[in-house]
């Protein structure tokens, strides 16, 4: 078990009149090699939760274990945890600060006390993983780059630490569809090829459905629903009650099922939908389940 939260509660400004319970007895486990999507309304506790995964926030009560080690241990073990779990914040490009792209990406590995050679290698590796050319960009100022490129440089800065877990908080907000897909495809590749565990926080149900294996739904500081993608979107009514929704394609399949047609609902992409619908389609109409005639 890679990440484990036990009765995790977090209260902001405890004891003050502004005291606010952001997490309320959350229990969850994330295994090595999973791609987990975390969804929930704004203010449901998603960002507070993920900041516990590398000890940026510590529990008010309960515990968070990374490979069995508590984030509330000594300094040394907290340092280990931060090398294992890399966190990419919302709008991470706001945290770029160095004069050149290379220096910015090097910052993390340098702080790990690695040799110059290793630092250089990791910088190349990380930039390549996010689809940027080291040679072309290393001496450029990160602030001259496009928004999408800046976002990638910031993600590369976290990848250069070679974390085992990559936590991404709304990594594609403000990017256009191509830029969005490109970054998420790169993350999926890292996940598949290097076995990196990815935790993706997003408001886009399309992306969550397309990329994750497992989904966790947060609501008012609690973990409300958790399961694999199919299970979670099977509970459409519950999800809608929590202010969320399913991809449009999934909603279409639901409607067709309601009308009595024998199609699966756990369909999240246009390609899949097409594959499921085509065999049923005769003269443009769907075959009713359990009947021999075409409507």
């Amino acid at each position: 078990m890679l990440i484990e939260c036990k009765d995790l509660t977090h209260v902001y400004m405890p004891g003050s009149p502004m005291s606010h319970k952001a997490l309320d007895e959350v229990n969850l486990t994330i295994d090595k090699g999973e791609f987990v999507g975390i969804i929930g309304q704004t203010g449901s506790g998603k960002s507070t939760l993920i900041q516990h995964f590398n000890g940026l926030l510590l529990p008010t009560s309960g515990d968070v274990l990374i490979q069995g080690k508590s984030t509330q241990g000594d300094k040394k073990s907290l340092k280990d945890i931060r090398e294992k779990v890399g966190l990419v914040f919302q709008y991470p490009e706001h945290q770029l600060f160095e004069e050149t792209v290379a220096k910015d990406v090097e910052f993390g590995p340098k702080n790990l006390g690695l040799s110059q050679e290793e630092v250089g290698e990791r910088t190349r590796y990380a930039l390549e993983k996010v689809g940027l050319s080291y040679e072309e960009l290393k001496d450029r100022s990160p602030f001259e780059l496009s928004g999408g490129q800046m976002r990638r440089v910031a993600i590369a800065g976290v990848l250069a630490i070679k974390p085992e877990v990559l936590v991404l908080d709304e990594p594609t907000a403000g990017l256009d569809p191509r830029g969005k897909q490109d970054i998420l495809d790169k993350m999926l590749r890292l996940h598949r090829e290097q076995g990196i565990t990815v935790i993706l926080v997003s408001h886009s149900m399309d992306d969550i459905a397309k990329y994750s294996d497992k989904i966790m739904v947060m609501h008012q500081g609690r973990l409300k629903i958790s399961g694999d993608v199919k299970e979670v979107f099977a509970r459409l009514k519950d999800i809608e009650e929590l202010g969320l929704n399913a991809p449009k394609i999934t909603l279409l399949m639901y409607r067709l099922r309601e009308k009595g047609f024998d199609v699966p609902y756990d369909v999240f992409t246009v390609e899949e939908a097409k594959e499921h619908l085509l065999p049923h389609l005769k003269k443009g109409k769907l075959k009713k389940s359990g009947s021999d005639f075409y409507v």
């Binding site: 309304q41 449009k248 067709l256 246009v270």
Partner: protein, 276 residues
């Protein structure tokens, strides 16, 4: 009638005359009619936001002209009138909230216009009701949800009674319910108050809500039509790095496989009807 916006051969360069000069808008001519609901889409760097900032004189043309009704934005005496007519709402509501209560935040704009207190009170009340935040006028803005904050930012602008509302990705930071709230607010402002809406978005589903969609590419207008027509250009839209709304794309690819479907299927209900 509402206020119309007009650009005439508008070009704009960032860092003009310098080494890193960059042409962001290239000879754009565009006219909106009063009370129009227009979405602007395009990939990052296509010129959408640069165009939007010209509508209230935040940016001035390098070449060409921008008119708000008959007011030329490049004439400096016009700029305050232009900004009263055209309100802007940006992506991140946290950067646009200035006061410690919801009510005060909305009052900030009209106060700066020098409006008498009674009328300010009325306008604040009205604006908050329009965006459905009337019940929480005394709350602290930073404790609101993302959707509420974004609607608060909109209320702050509509309290200044603009004729045109320009919104630059107003829903990119908020959850699905919040998005819906903001979209409903826009529709209502458009239909009931006859406010012209210019909505810049990366969400094709949101663009479908508009009456007219402009697709920007490399600083130029690539497509300009009703959403139904624009999204029928499936190949072109993809070439431009954009996506087709899922339902439209599914209908399109089923048709390509020889399934007999009519033109113009844009929502779940009409596709269900055709398939059943």
């Amino acid at each position: 009638m509402g206020v119309s916006l007009r650009t005439e051969n508008l070009s704009f360069c960032y860092n003009k005359g310098k080494e890193n000069e960059e042409k962001a808008l290239d000879n754009v001519s565009l006219k909106t009619s009063g009370g129009e609901y227009m979405a602007v889409i395009g990939h990052n760097g296509s010129g959408k936001s640069t165009l939007a900032k010209h509508f209230n004189g935040l940016l001035l043309p390098s070449e060409g002209k921008v008119f708000v009704d008959d007011l030329d934005t490049s004439v400096s005496e016009n700029i305050w009138k232009v900004r009263q007519k055209v309100g802007m709402v940006f992506q991140n509501p946290d950067n646009q909230i200035v006061a410690t209560t919801v009510e005060e935040d909305v009052a900030f704009g009209p106060e700066n216009l020098g409006i008498v207190p009674e009328e300010i009170r009325e306008r604040v009340h009205e604006a908050l009701n329009t965006v459905d935040l009337g019940g929480i006028s005394g709350h602290a803005p930073h404790l609101l949800s993302g959707g509420q904050k974004q609607r608060l930012a909109i209320a702050g602008i509509i309290a200044m009674k603009p004729d045109v509302l320009v919104l630059d990705e107003p829903t990119s930071m908020i959850d699905p319910r919040g998005k819906k709230e903001v979209l409903n607010t826009l529709k209502q402002l458009n239909q009931q108050e006859n406010i012209t809406i210019i909505h810049i978005t990366h969400s094709m589903d949101e663009a479908m809500e508009a009456k007219r969609v402009i697709v920007m590419n490399q600083g130029r207008i690539d497509l300009d039509d009703a959403p139904g027509e624009v999204f029928l250009q499936v190949e072109r839209i993809k070439e431009l790095g954009l996506e087709i709304p899922q339902i439209v794309e599914l209908a399109h690819s089923l048709k390509q496989e020889g399934v007999n479907l009519p033109k113009g299927i844009f929502d779940i209900e009409s596709l269900v009807e055709e398939l059943c």
